[in-house]
């Protein structure tokens, strides 16, 4: 959803071709390493936006190299962009690979859960150190957008580290409780009741 709306936003700025859209999108989001969008996704998204009447092909640029189709936003596209910009974003991420490792280390005994926590903590601190270094090297007068994104990463890592401390403090309690079990639902046709 976000890429689709981002393309609308960039086309609301001015008409652009696919390559330009991809490069600008990635620059805003802190580079390819942060959010890599494949060219194919840009072109299929553009095709869908065109089909929905939200963008239209405006011209073909043949000035250099292979020809590039230039797209522009339509009034319907602009309306959709405005409604997206002014609605809140739900962020609810509970898929956590570390959590899965912890639960399975508890369940299988194949690794010490305390060690799993310490390894994760070390990894998070190394990441935090790397981001802190980048954050310090960034120029606040020119690269504020990048700094804000780095700050977000720092704060999330801080939260993850605090969460690890909490888990470690309660590890003995967790060990004493059974792992969550699936709720068994009867399958197939209900059995006939015998009178």
């Amino acid at each position: 959803m976000s890429v689709r709306n981002a393309l609308l936003g960039l086309l609301a700025q001015r008409p652009r071709h696919g390559y330009d859209l991809r490069a600008t999108f990635q620059a805003i989001m802190g580079g390819e390493e942060n959010w890599d969008v494949k060219p194919a996704q840009i072109y299929t998204t553009l095709a869908r936006l065109e089909k929905d009447g939200l963008v239209q092909e405006e011209a073909v640029d043949q000035s250099s190299g292979p020809e590039k189709r230039i797209y522009a936003i339509t009034p319907a596209g602009r309306a959709e962009l405005r409604s997206w910009l002014t609605s809140g974003v739900e962020r609810y991420e509970q898929r956590d690979e570390f959590f899965l490792k912890l639960m399975l280390s508890l369940a299988t005994g194949e690794a010490d859960p305390g060690k799993v926590i310490r390894t994760q903590r070390a990894a998070l601190y190394r990441e935090l150190h790397a981001i802190t270094t980048q954050r310090q090297q960034a120029d606040p007068k020119k690269e504020l957008a990048r700094i804000l994104l780095l700050d977000k990463a720092v704060m999330h890592l801080e939260a993850d580290l605090r969460w690890l401390d909490m888990i470690e403090a309660r590890l003995d309690e967790v060990k004493r409780q059974p792992l969550p079990e699936p709720v068994t639902k009867p399958r197939g046709r209900p059995k006939k009741k015998r009178d």
Binding site: H129, T132, Q136, V154, E158
Partner: protein, 245 residues
């Protein structure tokens, strides 16, 4: 030679049944120019560790070597001299003298050590400028923000040119932004001015500025994480550890 080395460093407060083991046989090595953070829950012994390394307190067992010198062999006068010339201290609440201005506060350790006021002021001014306080030299502590006061305290800690800077929760009384500035300065003190920094903190954000984190719990080192350095250095360290086993 390591700058700081502790061997089986132990501190017990009280006696008999009420005895509390604040530090339990801690072996820690800090190399010259390294920036090390010590973390752990409150009461884990991290401040005790810093105080023992800084010669502010004496261990129950074990010893501290500072640049190879055994602190336990020094008498109180020698220890005071060592603290004044070889170690700089930074605390959570800055501990500046309210009636003195920034230069006078920063110059204090030199004045107490008998350096002539003119020379002492010049060196204090130099460090204050390095701390970004060139335009605050004549301000008293109450005319400075928390972050600025802490920077005066760091200038004071460095004015006698110590090899080791000990910082006990240096950002504990500051907001996030000022805390980041202080942590960044500590980083710079190690990187640009070659000092060794040992910092106690409970804040992950601040600890992440260091080269290495040592985790303490119940007076013992429970974990250690290297945050920077090349992978070859890391491999060497692991190899050395493995050989030691």
């Amino acid at each position: 030679m390591p700058l700081v080395q502790t061997e089986y460093l132990t501190k017990v407060y009280g006696k008999g049944e009420t005895a509390v083991i604040a530090l339990d046989h801690v072996n820690l090595t800090v190399n010259p120019g390294e920036f090390v953070a010590v973390m752990g829950p409150s009461g884990c012994g991290k401040s005790t560790l810093l105080h023992l390394i800084g010669g502010l307190d004496r261990p129950t067992e074990g010893r501290v070597l500072l640049e190879g010198r055994d602190l336990s062999r020094l008498d109180d006068t020698q220890l005071t001299e060592l603290r004044r010339r070889h170690i700089g201290f930074v605390f959570q609440f800055y501990n500046l003298i309210p009636v003195l201005d920034a230069v006078e506060n920063a110059a204090l350790p030199l004045i107490l050590d008998g350096v002539k006021p003119g020379a002492a002021r010049a060196r204090a001014t130099d460090w204050l400028k390095k701390m970004g306080l060139g335009d605050r030299l004549a301000n008293r502590p109450d005319q400075l923000s928390g972050g600025q006061q802490q920077r005066v305290a760091i200038a004071r800690a460095l004015v006698a040119d110590p090899a080791l800077l000990l910082a006990d929760e240096p950002t504990g009384n500051l907001d996030t932004r000022a805390g980041d500035e202080i942590a960044g300065l500590l980083r710079k003190i190690a990187d640009e001015w070659g000092r060794t920094v040992l910092m106690v903190t409970h804040d992950p954000r601040i600890a992440a500025y260091a080269d290495r984190i040592v985790f303490l719990k119940d007076g013992k080192v429970v974990d250690e994480t290297r945050l920077s350095g090349s992978s070859t250095e890391e491999a060497k360290r692991v190899m050395a550890k493995m050989e030691a086993i």
